[in-house]
Amino acid sequence: MKVSTMAEMMASGQTPEILFWVGCAGSFDLRAQKITKAFATILDKAGVNYAILGKEEACTGDPARRAGNEFMFQMMAYQNIQILNGYSIKKIVTTCPHCFNILKNEYPVLGGNYEVIHHTQFLQELIEQGKIKITDSNEWKGKSITYHDSCYLGRANEIYEAPRKVLESLDMELREMKRCKSKGLCCGAGGAQMFKEEEKGDKRVNMERADEAIETKSDFVASACPFCNTMLSDGIKNRDEEVNTEVLDIAEMIAKAMQ
């Protein structure tokens, strides 16, 4: 499978219909790379004409801004917008809700105006258009699953249905956690917490959430964010439950169930 960059596309006079914004976690983190590859596979199989920025992509500035470092954020935003506008990017899809939120909501005022969608929304679209066909005997069929709402997808942008609709297509038994949708509990990574030790308390946030996921006794936990994925995997591993409950990104599940 060939993954083209915008630079290559431009050089050969092509204009992709959509830019896949991979994000830092998706690019460098070993676990998140699997999500990236799964999503790229889906795009490829569904015949989507897409490209990535490759080495020209840089951090959106989200963790810096949430930590309070507006200068760092503005510098990153400036550079990224220069690149994106330079390629006349119109539409972006990303597998990271943090990148999604910042590109969609916080870049426009700085001169970066794009149609930004999250990969779960794009997957829903592709399924509805028939571009993704799920095999009847997919390996998830009949298994139980609980979906963990990412804060930056859910409350931040009110996307609760798209990921659930995609999961429905897999014919699984969806078990909701008590705190779900607008009441969903954070995994503990947001607001740049991912990059520091937690403040002192009686429990780690990811353990609180992992316990809630384990309580549903589901075979799988679906995530739609590379950071939630890490936090929940760590939590479940900590409880020695990783044999019973595996954390997977929705894209990974679809990639394996596609015809």
Partner: protein, 429 residues
């Protein structure tokens, strides 16, 4: 004799209204020391929020039983206060149930009875709801009411309001019961209890209840500006000015945006560009007026804190406490302004003296607090503004964050990976 009562009533009413408006204006002044923050676009959507959230109490219905009790208090409070019109007219003119005689003149006595009966039913419901709320607050040991956030005055404040409502409703019903010429739905059932009392004494009881009721209302009204109960007024403007943007959106800092722009493209920099005074918020005057109105609107119900992942897992952060601390500091700054006309620095600030670094550092920006608030308060916005000040003014960040900043700067990712490896995954795909 009657004229003395009338004069006394007018003086009392005028004093109550004067003090009340004086305190409201003070609150308005305090709110306006914040930076511009009231956005007034898309009026239709804003009014919709007022109707759904403030008037319709939509978010309260996440807990239906509490919502019903709360709406009884609220509807009762507003509707029963219509009776104040008659009480005021009687007080000023020295009459007794002046509207009743008017209604009778137009053969609408039945309507008058219907109205007062409705008031009485509501009064009885409010009476009961307040007792349930008092019991729930003090006996059920709900975590959000037992929390240390409420230690001292805030806990008493909540109880005082409920007790005051119970007394006021009691007086209202007592006043009607002692008026033997009337037979309203609830108070008439109290009348047998008073049957052994002679007419003169009943007259005194009725008048005493009437006076205590109106004095109670004036005291309650003037208590509002000092109380969490101010939300009955501020919930309306607060939901009107609630942000209409997605919750995930942080507001931009044009000052910083321009600094970066001029660094990248020096040709755009104006020659006389003055450096911005400060970044983020260290004290209440650095926050937006909306943030400050949020603080005055907060009812300290603690739904935010109960949903906060940091608080749930035992961290120091409590979004409710953020709002209470902001109001406390703002009140202090207000008193400072009363004394000196303009604010005179007092070597204190919201950051550090009222809200600690540890609290701010615990926030995951998950928006659960914002989502929970029934009247659209954002503790998160205040937390982020204080974080901005911490990092940009004081360079106060944990070591791991400083590493993250330098990784972003040098490696274009929050981790120390070679930027050239960003697309390494494509080779394995």
């Amino acid at each position: 004799m009657a004229i003395i009562a009338q004069i006394l009533f007018i003086i009392l009413t005028a004093t109550a209204l004067y003090l009340f408006s004086k305190n409201l204006l003070k609150i308005r002044r305090n709110i306006l020391i914040g930076k511009a923050g009231f956005v007034n676009d898309q009026k239709a959507r804003r009014w919709k929020n007022v109707f759904l959230l403030a008037l319709g109490q939509k978010k309260m219905f996440k807990k239906p039983i509490v919502a019903i009790l709360h709406i009884i208090l609220y509807v009762g409070f507003i509707i029963i206060n219509i009776e104040l019109l008659e009480i005021m007219a009687d007080g000023i003119l020295g009459t007794h149930r002046i509207f009743e005689s008017y209604f009778e003149q137009f053969e609408l006595a039945a309507l008058y009875n219907f109205i007062i009966n409705s008031f009485e039913i509501l009064a009885a419901l409010v009476f009961v709801a307040c007792i349930i709320f008092l019991a729930r607050r003090n006996m059920l040991k709900l975590k959000r009411f037992m929390s240390n956030d409420l230690a001292g005055w805030p806990r008493s404040d909540a109880n005082y309001i409920l007790i005051a409502e119970i007394i006021l409703m009691g007086l209202f019903l007592m006043m009607n019961a002692a008026d033997t010429e009337t037979h309203f739905i609830i108070s008439s059932s109290l009348q047998p209890l008073l049957s052994s009392i002679n007419t003169d004494t009943l007259f005194i009881i009725e008048h005493t209840a009437w006076w205590l009721h109106i004095i109670g209302i004036y005291i309650f009204m003037n208590y509002l500006p000092y109380s969490k109960h101010l939300h009955i007024i501020l919930a309306f403007p607060n939901t009107y000015y609630a942000p209409l943007t997605p919750k995930g959106m942080m507001h931009n800092m044009p000052d910083v945006q321009n600094e970066v722009l001029y660094a990248m493209q020096p040709e755009l920099a104006p020659t006389d560009a003055a450096a911005p005074a400060s970044f983020g918020a260290k004290d209440v005057m650095d926050l937006s007026s909306k943030n400050l109105m949020d603080a005055y609107s907060c009812t300290e119900c603690g739904r935010c804190t109960a949903a906060c992942p940091a608080n749930i897992t035992g961290k120091l952060l409590s979004p409710r406490k953020i709002m209470m601390a902001t109001r406390d500091r703002l009140e202090e700054v207000g008193k400072n302004m009363d004394l000196h006309k303009n604010f005179v620095p007092d070597n204190k600030s919201l950051l550090h003296d009222y809200i600690t670094v540890e609290e701010l550092r615990a926030c995951t920006t998950c928006n659960a607090c914002v989502e929970e608030c029934p009247i659209s308060i954002s503790p998160l916005d205040i937390i982020m503004e204080l974080r901005r000040s911490l990092v940009m003014e004081e360079s106060n960040a944990p070591q791991e964050w400083n590493s993250m900043f330098s990784n972003i700067e040098n490696n274009f990712a929050p981790w120390k990976f070679a930027p050239d490896d960003r697309d390494a995954w494509t080779k394995q795909a």
